[in-house]
């Protein structure tokens, strides 16, 4: 798949085009440019390193939203195996923006669910651009109960711009659907792992994000509001999204130091979309390791530690 380069990747693209020209010229005129080619390749590697090791928060947001990035179903089908999809919230509908079911991971039977985006328009309409309605959150709750009943760990993959702001969504109480999950995930009597794989958009992300271990991919973001939304309110214009992205402290390393997440899962150079199989393997290893660790913890201790972890989050003065 030819990837559409992001704005900040243009210097790499330009060098790669020059290299291609050089090789073509060499072949056409039968001249040996090996040393130039080598030098150019070295320069490309150096430029990549420079760019990818110094990504700004806003650049990471763009990687997190890259349409070629692996999505929930890619992980459920490839990091996991034997995925069986289970449909519906048993109340109103099946939310295609949040597929879930049972799957194996590292020899462990799991219940898993996540937000799903589409890569092109038709798929995106089916998946509602990864914005779940109340039915998605209620399906997640139903699957949590299933996990609890049969003693399987619950894994959630987070990748949403936010819960869907629609008329039906409000009529069927999206607020309540999210709030109930927040309450119930805190006392779910099986090990839980949540992974922010792309966009961690506000309450819609947190609605499946209360877990014993919260992991986050290196270039994912997790925020109370989109950088554009924050810029529109506090800077009075969306064009200030890069400043807002920086101010919001929404990157994986920021959130690790704030104690909001437990672990950063590394991505292949340039982002998960550059190398799906590496990204899929990284997620598999990280989730499997956390599940192995959690399996050893008695459930009462699990619940106490889960509660204490979220209970500690927040900064204030005066007592």
């Amino acid at each position: 798949m030819k990837l559409q380069p992001l704005e900040f990747e243009k210097p790499i693209v330009e060098l790669e085009e020059k290299l291609a020209d050089l090789k073509r010229h060499s072949r056409a005129n039968d001249i040996n440019f090996d040393s130039e080619v080598q030098r150019m390749e070295g320069k490309i590697e150096e430029t990549k390193r420079q760019i990818y090791e110094n990504l700004t928060p806003w650049e990471r947001v763009q990687i997190a939203r890259h349409p070629a990035r692996p999505y929930t179903l890619d992980y459920l089908q490839l990091s996991f195996s034997d995925f069986v999809e289970l449909h519906g919230d048993r109340l109103f509908a099946d939310d295609r923006a949040m597929p879930g079911g049972m799957a194996m991971l590292g020899g462990v039977k799991c219940v898993a669910i996540g937000h799903q985006k589409g890569r092109e328009l038709k798929e995106n309409i089916k998946r509602n651009f990864g914005c779940a309605n109340p039915e998605g959150y209620r399906k997640a709750l139903r699957l949590m109960r299933l996990a609890e009943k049969f003693g399987m760990p619950f894994v959630s993959l987070i990748d949403t711009p936010g819960a869907y702001p629609g008329i039906g969504s409000e009529e069927r109480h999206i607020s309540e659907a999210i709030a109930v999950n927040l309450r119930e995930m805190m006392v779910l009597r099986v090990p839980t792992v949540a992974v922010v794989i792309g966009e961690g958009g506000s309450g819609g992300a947190l609605g499946i994000g209360v877990a014993d271990r919260v992991l986050m991919l290196e270039n994912a973001y997790y925020s109370v509001i989109s950088p554009e939304g924050c810029a529109a309110i506090l800077w009075k214009h969306r064009k200030h999204a890069p400043e807002a992205a920086k101010a919001l402290k929404l990157t994986a390393s920021d959130l690790l130091s704030l104690g909001v997440i437990d672990e950063v899962v590394s991505e292949p150079q340039g982002g998960a979309h550059q190398n799906h199989s590496a990204a899929i393997e990284n997620l598999k290893q990280a989730v499997a390791r956390n599940l192995r660790e959690l399996a050893k913890v008695p459930v009462e201790q699990l619940l106490t530690e889960r509660y204490e972890k979220f209970r500690r989050i927040g900064e204030f003065g005066g007592g």
């Binding site: 819960a163 869907y164 702001p165 629609g166 008329i167 969504s169 409000e170 009529e171 069927r172 109480h173 999206i174 607020s175 309540e176 999210i178 709030a179 109930v180 927040l182 309450r183 119930e184 805190m186 006392v187 506000s202 309450g203 947190l206 609605g207 994000g209 209360v210 997790y222 925020s223 109370v224 509001i225 924050c230 309110i233 506090l234 800077w235 009075k236 400043e243 807002a244 101010a247 919001l248 402290k249 929404l250 959130l255 704030l258 909001v260 509660y307 979220f310 209970r311 989050i313 927040g314 900064e315 204030f316 003065g317 005066g318 007592g319």
Partner: protein
């Protein structure tokens, strides 16, 4: 924790009535004398429009006389993210503290209602639109934990513009923290009554406000997750009449009852007589 013999609040400005002797009702345009408005609990005598009420005033209206003890009055917000947008967070906090006499957007404590001891939290919309940051989340979590230890009911009066953006994802996590505290309170088979007042939106609506054993709404309060403008822009649809009002939510099955301010104290007393733990 401060213990007072009579109601005492971090708010110095208890009466949430704007300057001037006369008020114009924003709903029906009736001109009302301040005294009449105060006697009517800040409800328009003509159209029953419920004016926003300061948290301290609400507690005075609901609690048995001299029964309120405030908790955690000293908690104050800090600028962990060093937020410098158009206006810095610290500047904003200072200006609201000065304007409202409050330290932050919620008052919590213990009181009695019709002789039932309860833990109570009241949000004050006049403080940065009662957005929820770490202080709001912490005070609410603490009062719920206190209620669980004391085996008493929790009553929360919500009003909020949503999350406190200046605290980034820390404000988001207060949703999990407060709902977690409610989970343990609920597991202990203790009652939680949530009261939705105008407006209750965003992260507060999507956390503790909508998981009450009983959910009460004040008349005509705006309650919803997303703002109407965002919904209109996303869906390109006209919003139904009365969308996201208390009445709409009662019709659609979220709220148990709509209770006018004047009846709220007695209604709570009656509900507590059914579900408060026997003492």
């Amino acid at each position: 924790m401060g213990i007072f013999s009579k109601p005492s609040f971090t708010s110095e400005k208890k009466r949430d009535v704007p300057e001037g002797l006369w008020q114009k009702c924003p709903s029906c345009s009736e001109v009302i004398h301040n005294l009449e408005l105060i006697q009517n609990l800040l409800v328009c005598p003509k159209c029953q429009h419920h004016f926003n009420l300061a948290a301290g005033e609400r507690i005075l209206q609901l609690a048995d006389p001299n029964s309120f003890t405030e908790h955690d009055a000293d908690l104050i917000s800090v600028d962990t993210l060093k937020f410098t947008g158009m206006a810095s967070y610290i500047d904003r906090l200072k200006s609201y503290q000065k304007k409202t006499g409050l330290k932050d957007a919620v008052i919590t404590g213990e009181c009695k209602i019709h002789e039932h001891p309860v833990a109570i939290a009241v949000m004050d919309f006049s403080f940065i639109a009662a957005t929820m940051g770490s202080v709001v989340g912490e005070k609410i979590a603490r009062i719920i934990e206190h209620a669980t230890r004391q085996r008493i009911p929790v009553i929360i009066l919500s009003a909020s513009g949503g999350a406190r953006m200046y605290e980034g994802v820390l404000s988001l996590m207060q949703m999990a923290k407060t709902c977690g505290a409610l989970a343990l309170h609920s597991k202990a088979r203790l009652p939680y009554i949530s009261i939705l007042t105008h407006p209750t939106t965003g992260g507060v609506s999507a956390s503790f406000a909508t998981v009450g054993d009983i959910i009460i709404a004040e008349p005509k309060a705006m309650v919803g997750f997303a703002g109407p403008r965002v919904i209109r822009e996303t869906t390109h649809q006209d919003l139904p009449a009365g969308f996201q009002t208390s009445e709409f939510l009662e019709e659609h099955g979220l709220v148990d009852m709509i209770v006018a301010r004047k009846q709220l104290r007695d209604t709570l007393g009656q509900l507590l007589s059914y579900i408060a733990p026997a003492r």
